[in-house]
């Protein structure tokens, strides 16, 4: 292993590495993110390796396991270069054909291409696919390019150049760049990163710490996981630059226990960095001493809150404490501590490398740069998307997400994780940035984005999020702990037909108390799911409380199933599928549902080809 002595030495090594790889004529990248691995991409990788060997193509073709490409639902993904041809849902049986046709004779295999929803259009290259075409992949770009276990790959693609530059610029000028870039914290709060660094840097204490918050607890969010799994060195580089500016000697990465692959790759990357002199004592012979430790969290949602996270690293219960003092002044073991989220750290190298003016030109006036969202729910294309700040929700859902599944109507988009808010269809044209989302009753959060269609009951959604929050509250404050228990009970009452106008009033009052009197931001925002659905979907609440109806047909106590005699053709399919034997009917005769026996499982409605089963 090369031990890098200084920035020039790094550049020499980079040139050397670039020469080495240009000898490969072609390269095949296989996504080895958690999503694709679950779909069997390791088998694809093995099969490709065997096939390349079989055809003696080792010298010509390079096989590269990479990080998450973002288009997780189409995995396993295989990308061929040059040409950037993307194959989706590749199975081991396809490998021989890929090698013989696409690699050996530049033929494109049509059936493996991504197609438009109607199947009419086929998109051969990555940049043709609407999912990718509308994105601006600043942070995720390298995920599909480099092998996360290879420091050489990262260096080839410009890795640690920003750190070299930072050393030449000096701490003050780097800080100035970060401030002028307008970068705001990607973990949810949106606090200006440069300002945070400045506060921490100007403290009198000499011992300072850095923390990378990788305790991504939002259900359905996997931005940070994918960055750590796909490109761990960019986080290390960001932290190195942070250490230089802030004057910290030790950094911690707090990763949740549920991310074993991220931990494994990060640890691997840290070892490489240490061996190469990128971490440790006197880095790049500049006198900078810095090392990073990995700390694994136990998977408590509340440990994503910075003061709770710090308590957890110190070995105490993960409970937030009152701020001020902020961690930048008094954090880990009472020392000044700068804590940033994974995505924020990953934004640092590009800013230093390409300058704050370039970075500030992306996004909106108050929110600069790009943001990664995990787009999930009832959209056609789910996955990780990175877009410039200020893009409209509509663009994200329709242009990138490809619209709603099964041609249903969109009802709401939920942003900001469990304590975010639900925005209705008429708010789709708002620009997605920190301040607009808050103004509209939602929030940026760490970047979860859940799309809901017309079959979603908003009262049930609010209840679902509250169930999560009440069990993930740390339990310190009466208002958050007991308030959420009671609020959840009140929402359950509504979904089970026991709600009335008084219930709605109690919910409003209680939500106001929880928001006003809880200690930490998680407690104060925990009522957002209720307040935002009350604000935008009040009529749905009224339907539940006044007419005892669930318009979306979700709340079991308020719905009943029936078969339309005009549409039923007596095929007995529903009779066969009913688990509680609630449907009666002979062949070619109209069937009926016994509502006494019906358990409202929806099985009959799912199987009926005539659409004769209706919910009311």
């Amino acid at each position: 292993m090369v031990v890098i002595k200084n920035a020039e030495h790094l550049e020499d090594w980079r040139t050397e590495l670039l020469v080495k790889t240009t000898s490969h004529r072609k390269s095949i990248s296989v996504c080895t993110g958690t999503g694709c691995m679950a779909l069997g991409s390791h088998k694809i990788l093995e099969a490709l390796r065997a096939e390349i060997e079989h055809h003696n193509l080792d010298a010509e073709v390079e096989l590269r396991p990479t990080g998450c490409h973002g288009f997780c639902e189409r995995g396993p993904l295989v990308l061929l270069r040059p040409g950037n041809i993307l194959y989706q849902r590749v199975q081991p049986g396809d490998i021989a054909e890929i090698i013989s046709k696409s690699v050996m004779s530049d033929e494109i295999i049509d059936r493996l291409l991504v197609t438009s929803e109607d199947g009419k259009e086929k998109y051969p290259t990555e940049s043709d696919i609407p999912f990718y075409r509308h994105q601006q992949r600043l942070i995720l770009k390298n995920n599909g390019l480099i092998n996360p276990n290879s420091l050489e790959d990262y260096i080839q693609n410009g890795g640690y150049r920003a750190f070299g530059k930072a050393l030449q610029m000096g701490a003050e000028r780097v800080l100035d760049q970060i401030i002028r870039s307008g970068l705001r914290g990607r973990g949810g709060g949106g606090f200006p990163t440069g300002k945070k660094w400045e506060i921490c840097r100007s403290t009198k204490e000499r011992e300072r710490y850095l923390i990378c918050n990788a305790d991504e607890g939002d259900p359905g969010a996997f931005m940070d996981r994918s960055v750590l799994e796909g490109n761990p060195h960019c986080v290390i580089e960001g932290m190195l630059i942070g250490a230089l500016v802030i004057g910290a000697q030790v950094g911690f990465v707090y990763v949740r226990q549920e991310y074993p692959l991220a931990v494994e790759r990060l640890n691997h990357a840290l070892t490489q960095a240490r061996n190469c002199g990128l971490l440790g004592k006197d880095i790049f012979t500049s006198g900078l001493n810095f090392d990073i430790q990995v700390h694994r969290g136990g998977g408590a949602f509340v440990c994503g809150e910075e003061s709770a996270l710090i308590a957890s690293i110190e070995g105490r219960r993960g409970v937030p404490r009152k701020r001020p003092p902020y961690p930048a002044v008094s954090g880990l073991w009472g020392r000044p501590t700068n804590i940033n989220n994974v995505e924020t750290w990953a934004n640092i190298p590009p800013i230093v490398d390409q300058g704050s003016d370039w970075y500030a030109s992306i996004g909106t006036e108050s929110s600069r740069g790009t943001k990664i969202f995990s787009l999930v729910g009832k959209v056609n294309n789910t996955g990780l998307v990175e877009v410039p700040m200020g893009m409209s929700l509509r663009s994200i859902v329709y242009d990138i997400g490809g619209g709603i599944r099964n041609h249903k109507k969109l009802k709401a988009v939920q942003t900001g994780g469990p304590s975010g808010g639900c925005l209705p269809e008429e708010k789709l044209d708002i620009p997605v940035d920190f301040d607009t989302l808050v103004r509209e009753g939602a929030m940026m959060g760490s970047g979860g984005m859940i799309v809901m269609d017309e079959d979603t009951c908003m009262v049930d959604v609010a209840r679902y999020f509250l169930r999560f929050l009440k069990s993930e509250s740390c339990g310190n404050c009466t208002s958050c702990r007991d308030g959420l228990i009671v609020l959840h009970q009140l929402l359950t009452d509504i979904t089970e037909g026991r709600g009335n106008q008084q219930t709605l009033q109690t919910i409003q009052n209680l939500a106001a108390t929880i928001r006003a009197t809880s200690l930490c931001a998680l407690g104060r925002t925990s009522v957002n799911p209720v307040l935002s659905t009350l604000r935008y979907f009040y009529n749905e609440y009224l339907e539940h409380t006044q007419n005892k109806r669930c318009p979306a047909g979700v709340c079991k106590a308020l719905i009943h199933y029936s078969i339309d005699p005009d549409l039923c053709n007596g095929c007995t399919l529903c009779v066969k599928h009913c688990p509680s034997k609630a449907i009666e009917g002979q062949k070619k005769q109209v069937h009926t549902i016994d509502s006494e026996l019906c358990i409202k499982c929806n099985a009959c409605r799912d199987v009926c080809k005539q659409h004769a089963v209706s919910v009311q």
């Binding site: 069990s471 702990r481 200690l519």
Partner: protein, 253 residues
């Protein structure tokens, strides 16, 4: 004590020392702020959310708890307003759902107009009527026993013995029970024994009057930590006082 900072509470200027908490300062100045999870002997954690006050920051005012709010130069605090009372009442109502049997809590709630709580009782609360203020845990930890712990989180948060195992470090001192605002910790004393947290301790009794002094475990802990010697605890405090006054009398007369 050096008074270095000036703050305003209900528009009254008060000189205070650095590091003091607003609750302490306000109470010393005669303002009544109710609280349940506060005790002067331990660090505040802001659990009960009853000691709410309004802090004026610029043109806005924010609600915050007084117990863990450190004084700062120029700080402006209001301890009573319609909003404060409404939120205190709402939190008291929540606590009543958890501890409907606590007399002290019911009295405080009735001061805020809550006589019949609207919320149904929170089920499976154990110890019964515990409001999870953690005073017992904090006191036990400060005394050096660390027998009690907070278990679980969110709606499964409980106070109890770590891993629900019989405690090796509980000495039966009863401090937890003495600080509990809702008297929810079970303790039963007989002339010879004390039962608390599922364990029965034997009392060291006074060599003169046979009154219970402390548990054997408590004495062993005290002797090991204060160096006074076991014989210091042979006689109970009241017998010591009687002996002292007799000695005093014999000198004077």
């Amino acid at each position: 004590m050096e008074m270095t900072i000036q703050i305003k509470i209900n528009q009254m200027t008060i000189a205070v020392s650095e590091g003091q908490f607003v609750l302490e300062v306000a109470r010393n100045a005669g303002f009544d702020i109710p609280s349940l999870c506060h005790h002067d002997a331990v660090e505040p954690i802001g659990a009960c959310r009853i000691c709410l006050v309004e802090q004026k920051i610029g043109h806005e005012s924010v609600l915050t708890t007084a117990c863990n709010l450190v004084v700062q130069e120029g700080m402006e605090i209001f301890t009573d307003s319609a909003e404060i009372r409404a939120h205190r009442a709402a939190n008291l109502e929540l606590l009543l759902a958890r501890a409907p049997g606590s007399k002290k809590l019911r009295e405080l709630a009735s001061k805020y107009g809550i006589n019949e709580p609207r919320h149904p009782p929170i089920q499976d609360n154990y110890p019964k009527d515990c409001i999870l203020c953690e005073l017992c845990v904090r006191v036990c930890s400060n005394l050096g026993h660390k027998a009690l712990a907070v278990l679980g989180r969110g709606d499964r948060k409980r106070i109890g013995l770590p891993f629900n195992q019989p405690s090796e470090t509980c000495v039966g001192c009863g401090s937890c029970r003495s600080v509990c605002p809702t008297d929810c910790i079970f303790m039963r004393d007989t002339p010879e024994t004390r039962t608390i947290w599922g364990k029965t301790h034997r009392f060291v009794t006074c060599k003169q009057c046979s009154a219970p002094i402390m548990t054997y475990e408590h004495r062993a802990f005290a002797v090991a930590n204060n160096g006074l010697g076991e014989d210091y605890y042979d006689v109970c405090e009241s017998c010591k006082q009687v002996a002292a006054s007799r000695r005093f009398a014999s000198v004077v007369w």
